[in-house]
Amino acid sequence: MNPVAAFFFGLPGLVQGLLKGLAVILVIFPMASLCTLAERKVSAWMQGRPGPNRTIIPWAAYIPVFGRLFQRLGLFQLAADGLKFLFKEDITPDTVNKPYFIAAPIVAMIPALTTVTVVPFGAYLSHGRVVPLVLANVDVGLLAVFAVASLGVYSLILAGWASNSKYPFLGSVRASAQLISYELSLTLAVLPVFLWINAPGSDGSMSLARVVEFQSQGGFWGGAWFLFTLPVSAFIFIVALFAETNRQPFDMPESEADLVGGFHTEYGAFKWALFFVAEYANMIIGSAVFALLFLGGWNPLPWVPLATFAHWVGLAGHPFWLGLVSIALFVGKVAFLIFFFMWVRWTVPRFRYDQVMKIGWNKLLPLAIANLIACALGIALLQR
């Protein structure tokens, strides 16, 4: 064990936990802002534009190839945007209810960053066992994600109500109705997964690491990702996820065509940026949960678990490098899903509000219930 690791494990548990939490926040925050840049770039490319490609820090122009490359990719735009939001005049309109108005963006950030704690993001091999990398590998797992993530709706309601203005209010009303409607389908869609992994006689668990563990077993049924064995669940989950994260075609809360900016119309500068980051953090967490549940988490390929992969490439004895590889695999899947979010955004038009409600209650919910019953029967037959 090297001295840094020795020092870290010598610290009190609370400090260790704080450091780990800080590390994850320090990763999620830039990732969310990176997503805003990716959004701009992807939308630009899809529309035949180059996107942000001018910003550059003066001395960075002297870095031979990379300075120019980063400029064209717009990476310096990230810092420019962040600084702009930080130093912009933060206007609070006179007519708003100030405490709630200020609380709303903070409330938006809390669930976005809290859910990270139970989401595993990688794994390494220790004495032949796969150990997940996660802040808190608790048994409530996904339940905790759903419970905390659903608090996010309060920030929208608070923002809309405290703004004391009609468009934000309409936006927040739509948002709350939409989030509550789609949460049902979201939850029902993942039930088959947990019915399957919690076979009679085994220890019950809602842990996300456990789901990945299940998808890493040998054999046809064991090694298959749930995307292939439960495609309908995966479909309902991703559709509901689009609605839950307020992405196109479900971005009712801020349909800028009819509601100016929706719930954050009255916000500006850093408070607005917090909403933005929270939205992307939610997207990242949602994509991560989808990757864990249906795409085999950190397993490189379907039917090829991480342990087998480690033996192939000779990383079985190097927990640190294997950990990095597993994180890279997992982040790659999440990145693809986030790209998919953006891809869909520039493909389909926004639904009308009544269509959103109709899809949620008349189509998706019955489909989710039928899927649950069918899967329950199928799993019961399979595990008999």
Binding site: V42, A44, W45, Q47, G48, W343, V344, T347, V348
Partner: protein, 183 residues
């Protein structure tokens, strides 16, 4: 007019599920993702100017380097927004073309007034004023936006001449003088 009833086929289940259309749309957007950008990156890349483009009006010189304007002030009179102001002056003795006695002492075009209509170019009997390629003008004050004669001549440069009106006239006069009492 007779009413033609159009039979609308009921949507199939696949169509109502919205998914095949979504997949088709995703395919199209993915195709666009990999297509090169059509944007012209402006200050570095400039659009090619088509012939006949009406940019900023300029004064031109003939291939001998003579300022063609004879300050007849027709452009000043025709200019709809009154953007042109000419102060005519007399040319000194021994000017390259003896028939031309006048030239502009000052020639100002206020680019804040100019509407790029091209009437000045059309009306000019000497083909001395042309609306050329320059489309991007900027300045920090109203004064800076007035093009004076030096700037106008610099922007105009020398254009090829189709007629050499005064050369022909001089040659005709010289021929007449040599012939001695022609006709």
């Amino acid at each position: 007019m007779a009413i033609v009833p159009i039979e609308r086929k009921p949507l199939s289940l696949a169509e109502r599920s919205y998914l095949p259309q979504l997949a088709a749309g995703l395919k199209i957007t993915l195709k666009h993702l990999f297509q090169p950008a059509v944007t012209l990156e402006y200050p570095e890349q400039r659009p090619s100017i088509p012939p006949g483009y009406r940019g900023a009006p300029t004064l031109v010189k003939d291939p001998h380097g003579r300022t063609k304007c004879v300050s007849c002030q027709l452009c000043e009179f025709v200019c709809p927004p009154k953007a042109i102001r000419i102060t005519p002056g007399e040319l000194p003795e021994g000017a390259p073309v003896p028939q031309v006695e006048k030239g502009p002492q000052a020639f100002d075009i206020d680019m804040l007034r100019c509407i790029y209509c091209g009437l000045c170019e059309e009306v000019c009997p000497e083909e001395a004023i042309f609306l050329q390629n320059q489309y991007s003008l900027s300045g920090y004050s109203r004064g800076e936006m007035v093009n004076h004669i030096d700037q106008l001549l610099e922007m105009g440069g020398t254009l090829p001449d189709a007629h050499f009106k005064w050369d022909k006239k001089r040659q005709a006069e010289e021929a007449a003088a040599e012939g001695g009492g022609h006709h």
